[in-house]
Symmetry: C2
Subunit: 210 residues, 2 copies
DNA sequence: TAATTTATGTCACCTCATGACAGATGACAA
DNA sequence: TTGTCATCTGTCATGAGGTGACATAAATTA
């Protein structure tokens, strides 16, 4: 890895840290790009060469965690049912986060806290989730052997996304708490959902029951 | 109702219609406030006296539909279980929308289509949803007789929000399709969820099973 | 060292959004 | 009808977010 690339990573991390620091102390809206850039000693223009927007820098850590989740899901064995694969991937994500450098973990926690207290960022994070949602639906449909346009995969992903949101919401208090909460939520889900609910059955068309 | 108020309503609707029209033809980002204001023959400054932002005007119709839902939920009898109340309120909302003036319905549909094809607005709509989420959780907790911080009400609302998203997603093709989709989704939910899943039981604390 | 690539800074520009103030217009009472 | 008052509106000025163009400085490669 050359000097050039190392410097880029360094600048990028410095921008993220400076931004999170300012956002958390002065507030997200009250902080300007100029202030962030000034703290890292780069021009404001350079900021936008690293991040496409103010929101982008704030959500870079959450976006990373999403990527981790996607990767974990892809690594789950084909034999697992959709919901099992999703929830195991979630556990893997939390574990991966906990295994990271303290520096990275701190960034993640700061971003979590910031997002929680900033409605605009909460919305942005939801957008990130929704952008992945279609990929998730496609993956679930593949595992179920059904079509992506079918209702069931959408339903499964939708339920799971909801679970993820609840965990994420509790992540403010640290990754340990988040891991516990994940267990609780999954337990609750097991108790609420019928066995095999996430698997396609012979009669997929709804019309007979009512 | 005086002339002044009538004019205000008129201007407001004109701004919404002009905005939706331009957004749908030229795209959301490509359309400027100046263009919207010019089409209605008001100053750009006046636009911001009716709407707090560009997003606000685009999401005014969705925001209205949310209000309808909240009102419908409040009107549900106390005896209904949380999930039943939520889903019936949803049905009421769709029915209310279908019963509106064609002009209003058209606005709603245009907004739906616009939101669907504009990621930034998708995020905004999610924000609207999340703003209500806490109220929903509180309402469900009240009906369950549990605490608002408890996991179950959050879970119920989360699942339901997911269902709502699926319906909403299909609302692009018209309110009739959306009503059908709602039925399908609720049927699927009934098939997937255990009876009484949305009611608090004696043993709420998870620890025994695993 | 010379040539090439690439990151950065500077400058200009546009759009979104807000505050301040003056003028126009509807509301209302005499 | 007229005068007063409240309110809506337009104009102006300002600041922040975001982008394109171009020159410069630095790192890579030969």
């Amino acid at each position: 890895m050359g000097l050039r690339e190392r410097k880029k990573v360094q600048t990028r991390n410095a921008l993220i840290d400076a931004a999170l620091e300012l956002f958390l102390t002065r507030g997200y809206e009250a902080t300007t790009i100029d202030q962030i850039a000034a703290r890292v000693d780069v021009s404001p223009r350079t900021f936008f060469r690293y991040f496409s927007s103010k929101e982008d820098v704030a959500l870079s850590a959450p976006a990373d965690s999403q990527d981790i989740f996607l990767a974990a899901l892809a690594a789950r064995p084909e034999t697992e049912s959709p919901y099992t694969a999703l929830s195991q991937a979630m556990r893997t994500m939390v574990a991966t986060l906990r295994g990271k450098e303290p520096e990275d973990a701190a960034r993640f926690m700061k971003a979590r806290q910031l997002v929680e207290e900033t409605p605009a960022l909460l919305a942005g994070q939801m957008r990130l989730l929704m952008e992945n949602e279609q990929r998730l639906v496609a993956e679930v449909a593949r595992r179920q052997g059904t079509d992506s346009g079918d209702l069931l995969p959408q339903f499964v992903v939708s339920v799971f996304t909801g679970l993820g949101m609840i965990c994420y919401h509790s992540g403010t208090q640290g990754l340990d708490v988040m891991a516990e909460r994940l267990d609780d939520v999954l337990t609750l889900a097991d108790r609420s959902l019928r066995p095999g609910w996430d698997l396609a059955t012979a009669d997929t068309s709804p019309s007979a029951t009512d």
